[in-house]
């Protein structure tokens, strides 16, 4: 039993990294209708930017903020310079997926050329471990969880109470109607890409802290878990992605107890596929529509 609880601790940490990632992924998808396979590569790039900062004496947490800002700016630029022009040309939905795949290849291997194929790690203090029941967290892990919770709350506030957040929801629900009622689509799209880049950047650094290594394939591997969380919650459903992140994060760690470690990811993805068999639109599509979150 105590093993279940201590794994729950790891699960919560994984979920708090998955949360900003899945929310960023799905938020951008719902507003712009581009399925961004390069999201993992963006995470990796930002994580290395944070590494670069720590190499130059910037403490880890400010470096994380810098990585987030870098992620937001680069993501906004990528949209303006590459993805938006393709969309304006009428590239199909699947064509856009292929574009982001190509983009992911380019980013990932540029990172490999700059920082090399071997993994690096952030300078971690270690510090005193904190015991909560039989869950053990390092101080960095606690902060990672905190950042995850703060991002969740901020996203909620953004979508509920700000003009741009409401505009994003409107564009996601019905782009044509949103446009004709005077919402500036370009601004909303830019904002969505920037927000998703910010979350990719933060999540990249959080992942680097949590697994205490940063490598050029890191985001690529993690992307599958992000996709699993987003799909589980219902693609484009921000609150669904939050629940999806929690479920997938905890499942990944808990299944390691029952099965041997190598099988843990298999269990989590198998659950995803089973859920989709029963509920092809993910967990939250229905309720989200009713509540007007979609």
């Amino acid at each position: 039993m105590s093993q279940v609880i201590s794994s729950l601790g790891f699960g919560i940490v994984t979920a708090s990294i998955l949360l900003p990632a899945a929310v960023g992924f799905t938020l951008q998808f719902s507003t712009t209708n581009v399925l961004n396979i390069a999201f993992g590569a963006q995470m990796t790039f930002a994580a290395f930017i944070a590494y670069l900062c720590t190499q130059h004496g910037v403490p880890l947490w400010p470096a994380m903020v810098i990585a987030g800002v870098f992620g937001a700016l680069s993501s906004g630029l990528l949209n303006r310079l590459l993805l938006a022009p393709f969309q304006r040309r009428g590239t199909s939905f699947f064509g856009m997926i292929v574009v982001t795949i190509a983009l992911a290849l380019v980013i990932e291997y540029v990172v490999e050329i700059i920082w090399g194929p071997s993994s690096v790690s952030y300078p971690l203090q270690g510090g005193k471990a904190v015991h909560i029941g039989s869950m053990i967290f390092s101080q960095e892990q606690l902060i990672v969880i905190g950042v995850g919770v703060v991002i969740a709350l901020c996203t909620h506030a953004l979508l509920r109470y700000t003009r741009i957040g409401k505009a994003m929801r409107a564009v996601a629900a019905n782009p044509a109607l949103a446009k004709s009622s005077g919402i500036r689509a370009q601004r909303v799209t830019d904002f969505a890409w920037a927000a998703s880049g910010l979350m990719a950047g933060m999540a990249g650094v959080m992942l680097g802290i949590s697994v205490s290594s940063v490598s050029y394939t890191m985001g690529d591997t993690f992307l599958i878990e992000i996709i699993a969380a987003a799909v589980l919650g219902g693609v484009g459903q921000v609150y669904g992605a939050m629940v999806g992140a929690l479920v997938i994060g905890v499942l990944l760690e808990e299944s390691a107890i029952v099965l041997s470690g190598a099988y843990a990811p298999i269990a989590a993805f198998a659950v995803l596929i089973l859920v989709l068999m029963v509920r092809p639109t993910g967990l939250f599509a229905g309720t989200a529509k009713v509540k007007g979150i979609a």
Binding site: A102, V106, P265
Partner: protein, 334 residues
């Protein structure tokens, strides 16, 4: 030099066959199978198991069952396994899900496959992979290395020609028209009474069989197969070849496979290493990504675009004919 040329030639034949199968799914029918490399792997593993013989206890490698069948049975069995797997995975992923979900679920399935094979060592020797897979007739024929390679190349070209003929017939048949109709407008195709789910399962099956055949040809040539040979970015390399060559055009796809898989990915490996080998690998992938972007921007239809198919004599413009009312159905560019 002959040594490299024969290797490269075989890689290209394998890539052409694999890209043709992908073209049936993606180019003709519009099914975005992000798990395509899984079917290549299924074929490679099937052929390995069917040629390696019974695993010896305490031997070098572990795998289940194992027997030793003469050529071409392993290749045919691989195609059957690939086809059945295609229909099975299609039934799981393509029946109820929306298009964007389908693509993502297939990607997840592809990765699940690598995890599963790596984790369960007793199945297919885990992450280390299988090796010493025998090549057909190698003991019987007394040919030199190059001579045998040319012989094997001949076998694979024959297989490629069979695949080509099957695909050409599908393309020209009413079935081909149906697939393209589904690609262009799925709702319309299903509204006029075609079962689009059955069509999708069919291309998953046939395409999967072709992918598996490509894997079978490849594995008996290189003699080894491991999860690192079929990570999911490999699928994107094949997609790149289909896009660059021209989706929907068999000749174009073959050209794309030659350019991307042959010259671009394999060919650069044979060049002398200018800097460190890592840099070569990375710049290869970067230029592959750039190549896809450049083609999608400047020539989305590929080097050799799909031919616009016109049936019968074209009526004079202005005359009342069904096509002028409902608009062109065939060969509409995407």
């Amino acid at each position: 030099m002959d040594y490299y040329v024969t290797i490269l030639a075989l890689y290209i034949v394998v890539a052409v066959v694999a890209c043709w199968g992908l073209n049936l799914q993606f180019g003709e029918a519009g099914v975005l199978n992000f798990a395509y490399i899984l079917f290549v792997a299924a074929g490679a593993y099937t052929t390995s198991i069917l040629t390696l013989g019974h695993p010896s206890p305490g031997g070098l490698q572990e795998y289940f069952w194992g027997t030793n069948l003469p050529w071409p049975l392993p290749w045919l069995a691989s195609a059957v396994v690939g086809g059945v797997l295609g229909i099975g995975i299609g039934a799981v992923s393509l029946r109820r899900l929306r298009g964007d979900y389908q693509a993502m679920v297939l990607l997840v399935i592809s990765i699940l496959g690598t995890y599963l094979v790596s984790a369960k060592v007793s199945l297919l020797n885990g992450a280390t992979g299988l090796s010493q897979i025998p090549a057909p007739f190698q003991g019987v024929l007394h040919l030199g290395i190059i001579g045998y390679r040319l012989f094997y190349l001949g076998l694979s070209v024959v297989a490629a020609l069979v695949v080509f003929e099957i695909l050409r017939r599908i393309q020209r048949a009413p079935l081909g028209r149906l697939l393209r109709a589904m690609r262009e407008n799925e709702a319309a195709a299903s509204a006029v009474g075609h079962n689009v789910v059955a069509l999708r399962l069919l291309v998953m099956g046939v395409g999967g069989a072709i992918a598996a055949l490509a894997g079978a040809i490849q594995v008996q040539f290189i003699g080894a197969w491991a999860p690192s040979s079929w990570t999911y970015p490999e699928t994107f390399g094949l997609f790149a070849a289909v896009i660059v060559g021209g989706r929907g055009n068999l000749g174009g796809v073959a050209l794309g496979a030659f350019l991307v898989q042959g010259v671009f990915l394999e060919g650069t490996v044979l060049f002398p290493n200018i800097a460190n080998p890592n840099l070569v690998g990375a710049s290869q992938w970067i230029s592959l990504g750039a190549l896809i972007l450049i083609f999608l921007w400047f020539r989305p239809q590929g080097v050799l675009p799909e031919r616009r198919r016109v049936f019968g004599r074209q009526p004079a413009p202005g005359l009342l004919d069904p096509a002028s009312i409902i608009g062109p159905v065939e060969g509409v560019s995407v």
